[in-house]
Symmetry: C2
Subunit: 347 residues, 2 copies
């Protein structure tokens, strides 16, 4: 492996000049710059990142905090894959790489109620590796733990968690607008009793979707009915159970807006178990547009999130903090209603 010193010797310049060629090319004369660049290419030279990080006091890596509660093995992010893809390609085009942080506590026991294995251990990792910034993925539970990061001073961008701090921002879908659109669509199809199965209390996207549901009802001049609002937890099982409860009401809904596709699928199964046809007897709309949505029968009408856009937007926000001094405002990604068969609007 060739070093800057060797390259410098070969070129008849000092290591300082070599360094400048790669870091502030403008400060080097065109002739020597081109010469160094050419030889570097020939020797396949590239700077040692450890040395670089050490002297700069900052690495070219961004930490990814994605902590899953192992007591709940079923937990899954609805679209982690697209998110990572978006993140890594956007970051790499600016020379940054993603370091997946894990504490040694990972996979072990943790204090009940702790939403993160150990925020302090993560912050520690951050210092050890001299990370340039942090991407925080909502672990689905208590988001307060994230504030530790937001206050650590380094650039942070959270996904689906309202993070605030001097150098912290976040990206999320426009959950309220998406939910409202879904409800309006159902109302336009003639439904008057539109129920909702919400996400867990305290979860920001869940709250926003409920808000959107209410807004959608209002816009369609429909009354809010407490008996048509039930609380789920985003997972399929809760969709099943809550749907069963809704269907047992005196006046059951003719349409249901579930705050996640997982729950919508559960609702579909519950309707079938109750001998009802979807969308004939009851219409169902979900949220997310995960892969399953198009595979179930009937195919699920749902509010699609811009999955790849999440990663790109997060990377974008982070990069403006890394390269500049300003903290970008929160990003709210537009959603899109994908109409399939479960809402009955197709002929």
């Amino acid at each position: 492996m060739v070093t800057a010193r060797q390259l410098a010797q070969l070129c008849g310049v000092s290591v300082a000049t070599v360094s400048r060629v790669f870091n502030r090319p403008a400060t080097v004369s065109a002739a020597t710059r081109e010469h160094v660049e050419r030889v570097a290419r020939e020797l396949d030279y590239s700077p040692n990142e450890s040395a670089r990080a050490l002297s700069r006091q900052r690495s070219a890596m961004v930490g990814l905090v994605w902590d899953t509660d192992h007591r709940r093995p079923s937990w899954r992010h609805p679209f982690l894959q697209d998110l990572l893809l978006g993140l890594k390609s956007a970051l790499s085009s600016h020379g940054y790489h993603l370091l997946m942080l894990a504490t040694s506590d990972d996979g072990r026991s943790r204090t009940p109620g702790a939403s993160l294995a150990d925020p302090v251990a993560y912050v520690n990792m951050t210092r050890r590796h001299q990370l340039a910034g942090l991407v925080l993925i909502d672990s689905g539970t208590d988001a307060d733990a994230f504030s530790v990061f937001a206050h650590s001073g380094l650039p942070c961008v959270a996904l689906d968690v309202a993070l605030s701090g001097p150098r912290a921002t976040y990206v999320t879908s426009d959950n309220a607008a998406g939910a409202a659109e879904a409800v309006r669509h159902l109302a336009a199809l003639g439904h008057r009793r539109i129920a909702t199965i919400t996400g867990p209390r305290g979860n920001a996207p869940a709250t926003a979707r409920t808000e959107g549901y209410l807004r959608g009802l209002a816009e369609a001049d429909l009354p809010v009915r407490d008996d048509l609002m039930v609380t789920g937890d985003f997972y399929r099982e809760s969709g099943f159970v809550r749907m069963r409860r809704l269907l047992a009401r005196k006046e059951p809904p003719t349409a249901v807006f579930a705050a996640s596709d997982e729950m919508a699928v559960g609702a579909l199964l519950a309707a079938r178990a109750a001998g009802l046809r979807v969308p004939g007897d009851v219409a169902v709309v979900g949220f997310d547009d995960i892969e399953v949505a198009s595979l179930v029968d009937p195919a699920l009408t749902t509010v699609a999130q811009d999955k790849r856009g999440f990663g790109t937007a997060a990377a974008g926000a982070l990069l403006t903090m890394l390269d500049g001094d300003e903290t970008p405002p929160p990003v709210r990604l537009p959603t899109k209603l994908v109409i399939r068969d479960s809402c009955g609007s197709r002929r």
Copy 2:
């Protein structure tokens, strides 16, 4: 941020001693070791990884090569999430972290036919960051590109690709055994014309599954019939198209083994489109046990892979190479036949 020097001063020892306490505790007297450890804990000291990597010529990071062809945006790993989870928790318990490698070419155009954005660029990253090892995730296409890594000399473990080299090994499911079991199961249910929709040619797991299919037929004393073997590409659409073709045969199959759940779902849809009932008119079995499998109707009988085990096994193999000198043999993970409704064996 406190450094080793500061810690040393506080403890009245040299930095060399501080370093030894953290790296070869056995070479330090118990008294000074405990003293240094205590003070270190009080000051929340932890060594700077960049400095460490620089002087050791090797970082505590493992690179993850997961290159997806962006020309094919639909490509997805059947269980990336579990895999990453398994990897990161196993690695972190030994102090290693995962660095998601990306070349700046990511998301841009690439040479047609190139299976990896640029293997050389990845190897380059590997040197720059002084990575301790590499985890290679099959990108679903030409696996030859991986040999560049295997020959780079550093510890490599590939997933689902037969990688060989001085310090290279791989982990995969026992695809043949799993497929054979699925076929035997169908035969035991009385099926005589069992078809298969294979994965793409040249793909190792696909080949092994086909092999298992043939073995299963042999074990059940069933003849191999060319008209009952069609080639898919692991994706749903191909399952749909190939199933339609199978159903159009003179003597259509009464059961189909699809080499992936995605294709099995496609097959399910094709059967339905043809007015056939599953499993009444034709039985279907898949492979993978992805989330969708239990959500479709009828729920899919499938060969489950040990998703979390993949990550753990890969990390294990890598760790023995990182900490020792031996190269572990390939790992073949057992599969498990999960019987649901699509094969008709349940009453």
